[in-house]
Each structure stands twice: as structure tokens, then as C-alpha cells.
């Protein structure tokens, strides 16, 4: 496994995401401020137009009812109907109504002579204060009669300009902050995440390089990284256990095959030494043959275990009367156990059916009975029973001593595990592993009954289709 490269911020997923989120936020905020500005402008302009129209209506009413003379008289300020230019600028700045009455040949009859916008509504920028600033003015120009034209107008409020300035300002501020900020946040975030991922990667690499006990450190923040780390660590725990098992098994296989193989080698040397002694050679051959059988039995058991654990046998499952199968085995093995000075009794509830492989079930029960033959004390009482327990067939094989020491109880189903005191007797430590594998293949389980004087094994296999069947 290669060591992980240090995270490159620019290529980082988190950095890119932060930047794009920042950009989206920027676009949104800018668009929002300009929308606000646009809506305000539209509303203010509309209000102003209706005010201008109302003012124009008033003037038109006076013109229609009282005549142009009255209108001109009404417009007089300090006795002047036509107002001077400086008044005009003041009116624009002060946002007063602007007014001009035009007679025949463009003669200004009243109001500001400088006001000369096109017909209808018009908007223009009026330069004031000697060119220092400009103010937007809206005007309405229309014909009062064939000879008279009227212009009414007013400046837009200054707040509109403020709002527009604010929108520009907001755009500048957002440009200057949001995008760089999201870059910085993204960079820091990706650095942080990168660091924690690197820690995880380092641990994983170490495990990959063979340090099975290496675990990733927790930050104790109980965040998503810690939760992931916990998952990762428990996965590593399981892999570690499996690996240790595999190691133990390979060592077991090697040991179990080496012992008979070297015994055979020893016998071959003895044959060479006793080459002229036919009787001695015969003894050596018998012994070598026995060792070879043990070796082959171990190989068979390993292959069988592999076959069972791979679940290939499941396709050949059939309905199986486990009661009669066990009864038959009990009958067969009773004399075998009797020869080994163990006394087997059986108690079988008839007609219990399971779904299973008869060869494997036979092997399973045989292994348990052979376990009794090998390990129960001389003169021991042993029993085998089959009974119904809820929806399962319960097969119990037990003896009354000496039992399995408490310290070994967790391990007896492990491959090649043998209780120390039984190392000298024949056997390969695969018998109970096979029992376990077969029980599990049948969706069942095997357990060692605690608190008993002897070793009592209970196998539970689910029943099929009710208690009794034809």
C-alpha cells in the first residue's frame, strides 16, 4: 500500500465546494440588492407621475374654468408670472412642482422659461450647482388648447440616489468579502478535513502494512469523523480477529500435517535400518500407515470444513427425519463406546423433521459421539437425546466427566484448538469446528452447556413443517 499524498488544497473537493457555495451566495446577494433598488425606483417613479398628473389636472381645470388670464395671475410670484432662472434651480433642488405655460409661438406665459422637455412624460438629468451634481427630473408636457401648452414636472427624491449608491456599495463590499472569505473558509475546512482523513489514512496504511493492532485515534468530539472512525476501528477489530484465526489455522494445519509426516519419515528410516528384518519392517509399515491415515483424515476434515463453510452443500438439502438418524447413530455407537468403557443411553423423541444434508448431520453427531469416546473418563455415563424445543430439534450429547475446563470453553469450537491435556491423544482439533460449521449450515447452533460435571453439547436445528410428518 502506498502512503497517502498530502492533501492538495486547490484540488480538494471541500475547497471547490466552498468556493462555489461562496460564489452562489455572492451572486444571490448582489442580485437581491439590485432588485431592491429597481423595485424602489419603479414605485417612487410611479407615485411621482401620478402626483404630476394630479397637479396638471388641477391647472387644466383652472385653465378651462377661469381662462388663461386667471391662470397667469395665479402663477405670479413677487408680481412676476414668468419666473427667473435662479428660482428654477432652487425649485429643482427643493423638489417643488415645476411649471411652464406656453402660448402662441412658444412664448412663455408663466412659469420657468428654461423648462423645455419633449411631449408626454419625460425624464432628464438637470445639472445644478454649476455642474457639481445632476438631479433627475420627470416632466409632463401636453396641449391645453390649440394655442396653449402646459409643462408640469418635479425632481425625483434624493433617497433614490442613496438607494442606488447603497446597491453599488453592497456589490463592491460583497465582491471584496464573500468570495475571498469563502476561499479562506474552504481552504481551512479542507485543511482540517484533510488532516483528519490523513490520520485515518495513516492508520489504515499501517494496518495494510501488517500492523494489525493499529487503530485510528478518536477526537472525542463525537462528530461524523468520530463515528466513522469507530466504524473503521470495529471493522479493523473484526479483520484482526479473522487474521489471527487464519494465522492460528495455518499454524495448526502445518503442525497437524508435520507431525504425522515426520513420523512417517522416521518409520522410513527405521525400515532402512531394519531392512533385513521382515517382521520389524512389517511393524514399521503398519505404524507408517497409521500416521498416513491420520494425515489424510486431517486433510479430509480441512477440505470438508471448507466445503461446508462455503455453503455448497446447501443445494442438496432434503427433508430429513433427525430422530431416526440420531437413533440409528446411537445404536451404532453404543457398542463402540462400550468398548471404550463409556455407557451410552439414548432418549429420542420420534418424528422430528429438519431440512438438511443426511451425510453432514451423520458426521456432526458422529463427531460429538467420538468426542465422548475420546475424552470422557473411563466408566463414564454418556447420553444422547433428541427432543423438541420450541421450533427446533434439540440434539444433546453429553457425559458426566471430566468435562472441559472453564478457561477453554470459549475456544473449543476453534479450528485446531485442543485442550492441553488431550494433546497426547489422537485427533486434529477439527471435530468440533466441523460440528459448529455443520450446525450453522443448517441455520442452527451448537453450544457447550455450562455448569455440568461433564461436557454437554447442545445442537439446535430448526424444524421443518410441524412436529410430525408421514
Amino acid at each position: 500500500m502506498s502512503s497517502p499524498t498530502t492533501s492538495r488544497t486547490l484540488g480538494s473537493f471541500i475547497f471547490a465546494r466552498s468556493l462555489s457555495i461562496g460564489f452562489i451566495a455572492f451572486v444571490f446577494l448582489v442580485a437581491f440588492s439590485w432588485c431592491l433598488e429597481g423595485i424602489t425606483r419603479a414605485r417612487v417613479t410611479a407615485n411621482l407621475r401620478s402626483a404630476i398628473t394630479a397637479q396638471a389636472d388641477n391647472i387644466e381645470t383652472i385653465f378651462q374654468n377661469d381662462g388663461v388670464g386667471e391662470l397667469i395671475d395665479g402663477a405670479r410670484r413677487d408680481g412676476r408670472a414668468v419666473w427667473p432662472e435662479d428660482w428654477y434651480y432652487d425649485a429643482v433642488i427643493e423638489r417643488e412642482f415645476l411649471f411652464r405655460l406656453i402660448g402662441i409661438e412658444d412664448q412663455t406665459l408663466a412659469g420657468f422659461e428654461d423648462l423645455d422637455p419633449p411631449n408626454g412624460f419625460a425624464t432628464f438629468d438637470q445639472i445644478v450647482d454649476d455642474g457639481d451634481r445632476s438631479i433627475k427630473v420627470i416632466t409632463l408636457r401636453f396641449d391645453l388648447s390649440d394655442d396653449h401648452q402646459l409643462i408640469v414636472g418635479r425632481s425625483l427624491p434624493y433617497q433614490l440616489r442613496d438607494i442606488r449608491n447603497m446597491a453599488i456599495f453592497a456589490t463592491l463590499i460583497l465582491t471584496a468579502t464573500v468570495i475571498p472569505l469563502s476561499g479562506v473558509i474552504g481552504w481551512r475546512l479542507s485543511r482540517k478535513v484533510g488532516e483528519r482523513l490523513n490520520e485515518l489514512a495513516t492508520s489504515v496504511t499501517a494496518v495494510g502494512d501488517g500492523d494489525i493492532d493499529q487503530r485510528a485515534a478518536l477526537s472525542n468530539r463525537d462528530d461524523e469523523f468520530d463515528r466513522f472512525t469507530l466504524e473503521l476501528n470495529s471493522m479493523l477489530d473484526r479483520i484482526g480477529t479473522l487474521t489471527r484465526n487464519v494465522r492460528a489455522v495455518s499454524v495448526g494445519v502445518a503442525h497437524d500435517l508435520k507431525t504425522p509426516a515426520s513420523n512417517i519419515g522416521g518409520r522410513l528410516q527405521l525400515i532402512e535400518r531394519d531392512i533385513d528384518d521382515t517382521n520389524a519392517i512389517r511393524v514399521h509399515l503398519d505404524k507408517a500407515d497409521a500416521h498416513l491415515s491420520a494425515l489424510l483424515r486431517t486433510l479430509d476434515a480441512i477440505l470438508r470444513l471448507g466445503e461446508v463453510e462455503a455453503g455448497r452443500r446447501k443445494a442438496a438439502f432434503q427433508k430429513l427425519n433427525v430422530s431416526s438418524l440420531v437413533e440409528d447413530l446411537a445404536e451404532s455407537f453404543e457398542p463402540v463406546l462400550a468398548d471404550a468403557d463409556k455407557h451410552l443411553s439414548s432418549k429420542i423423541t420420534p418424528h422430528l423433521w429438519i431440512e438438511g444434508d443426511p451425510d453432514l448431520m451423520t458426521q456432526m453427531v458422529t463427531n460429538l459421539l467420538e468426542n465422548v469416546a475420546e475424552h470422557a473418563r473411563d466408566g463414564a455415563s454418556a447420553w444422547i437425546s433428541v427432543k423438541r424445543h420450541e421450533d427446533a430439534a434439540l440434539i444433546i450429547v453429553g457425559d458426566d466427566g471430566p468435562g472441559i475446563p472453564e478457561t477453554y470453553r470459549d475456544k473449543i469450537f476453534d479450528r485446531f484448538f485442543r485442550v492441553e491435556s488431550s494433546r497426547t491423544s489422537p485427533g486434529n482439533g477439527l471435530g468440533l469446528s466441523l460440528v459448529k460449521a455443520i450446525a450453522e449450515l443448517h441455520s442452527g447452533s451448537v453450544s457447550l452447556h455450562g455448569d455440568q460435571a461433564g461436557a454437554v453439547f447442545e445442537v439446535e436445528i430448526p424444524l421443518t413443517g410441524g412436529l410430525s410428518q408421514p
Partner: protein, 225 residues
């Protein structure tokens, strides 16, 4: 006994050929499945030995072809595979027996003899089987020796019946395990020995002549000489 051996592994072939020749049997050896097929179809053999995995044509396929073309010669199949499906495949193809490598020559020879003898005997039809002064009645499953009725357990009866059907032939422990118990694995304990020993206590011990004899390293023979 005229035996055809179809086996591509020279070591195994030599081991079998030598054993059979020394036992006074006539053996013909070919290496390939197709050659075996031709030889088996043309020759007059008492028994055929086919290896399971052969070049050109698998042993099971060869056996299937032979059976389809009406060859009824007993066939024993050899294999290095020990999975039970493999065994079932071989028997379904039409083989009469199945032996897993490695095996003792005595085991193979006992099975060959059993197969070669089986045909003319029409054993299944004989109601009474007699060896010396021992008689069994296969309908009532009663056993008498020298006029005395013997009380056998069902399994002991089955063992005795099987041995009597193969009178004078070696019956191996594995053969008994397969035929009487139907086990396809080798128990660690002396299951067969125990039952045969109990059978002998009943059949031989009270009488002068011993009918069931142990053959060292291979099994048992039931005979009157």
C-alpha cells in the same frame, strides 16, 4: 479377472497394474478417456477402472457414453476429489462404485472382486445363502448355524448378509461403512471393527470352525476353508 484401467497418472497406473498382475489378474492400461472408451466398447472385460479426471474426455463422460451404448460391464471410478457431489456425479453417470485417492491396493482389489463376481451370482434373488453350516433366510432374516438359531441385531444381520453375498472375497472396512451404514466419511473410532467383533462373538465363538477371518490391513473374509 480381465481388468481395463483408464488412468493418466503413471504412478497410480503402475501401482494398480503391478498389484493386479501380482494377484494373477489380467490388466490392460490406456491413458486417455477416448482410448478407454474404444477399448471398453470393443473388449471383453470383467470390470473397468476409470479415473475421474482424464485428458481429452472426462471419466464421468466416458462412463455415461458407455452406459448409453449398452455396455453393462461393472465400472469403478477413481478420483482425487473427495467432495460428496463428485461421488454422486460418478454414480449418476453409471459407475457402480467410487474410490477416493489415495487408497490401499487391497481396498481397490476387494471392490474389483466384489464387482466382477456380482453379475453371474444374481445375488439379490437368492432367498437362502449358505456358507458351510451357516445359513441365512433373507425373507425372515433368520440365521442358523449347525442347526442352532442365532439371535443377531438388525445391523449384525446386515453385515453378515453382505459378507455372505461376497463369500470368499475380501470385504473392507470402508466397503462395510458405505454399504451397511451409508457413511461417506471415515469415523475416527473403530465403528466397523466393534460391530464385526460382536458379530463374530455370536457367529463364530460358540462353534469350532471360524468362518469370518480378518485379512491383515484390508478387511474381512467369510469363507468355509
Amino acid at each position: 479377472m480381465h481388468v481395463l484401467l483408464v488412468e493418466d497418472n503413471d504412478e497410480t497406473a503402475e501401482f494398480i497394474c503391478r498389484g493386479l498382475t501380482e494377484a494373477g489378474e489380467l490388466v490392460e492400461h490406456v491413458r486417455h478417456g477416448k482410448a478407454g472408451l474404444v477399448a471398453a466398447a470393443g473388449g471383453s472385460f470383467d470390470v473397468l477402472i476409470f479415473d475421474r479426471l482424464l485428458p481429452e474426455m472426462e471419466g464421468t463422460d466416458a462412463v455415461r457414453v458407455l452406459r448409453k451404448s449398452g455396455v453393462t460391464t461393472p465400472i469403478i471410478m477413481l478420483t482425487a476429489l473427495s467432495g460428496i457431489e463428485d461421488r454422486v456425479d460418478g454414480l449418476e453417470a453409471g459407475a457402480d462404485d467410487y474410490l477416493v485417492k489415495p487408497f490401499a491396493f487391497a481396498e481397490l482389489y476387494a471392490r474389483l472382486r466384489a464387482l466382477a463376481r456380482r453379475q453371474p451370482m444374481a445375488e439379490d434373488e437368492n432367498v437362502h445363502l449358505c456358507v458351510g453350516d451357516l445359513t441365512i433366510d433373507r425373507t425372515t432374516q433368520s440365521v442358523t448355524r449347525n442347526g442352532t438359531a442365532l439371535d443377531l441385531l438388525p445391523r449384525e444381520y446386515k453385515i453378515l448378509e453382505y459378507m455372505m453375498m461376497h463369500e470368499g472375497q475380501v470385504v473392507t472396512r470402508t466397503m462395510l461403512l458405505e454399504k451397511i451404514w451409508g457413511y461417506k466419511f471415515d469415523p475416527k473410532t473403530s465403528l466397523v471393527q466393534t460391530h464385526v467383533s460382536r458379530l463374530r462373538t455370536k457367529v463364530d465363538k460358540p462353534f469350532e470352525r471360524e468362518l469370518i477371518k480378518t485379512v491383515r490391513g484390508s478387511g474381512y473374509v467369510l469363507s468355509d476353508n
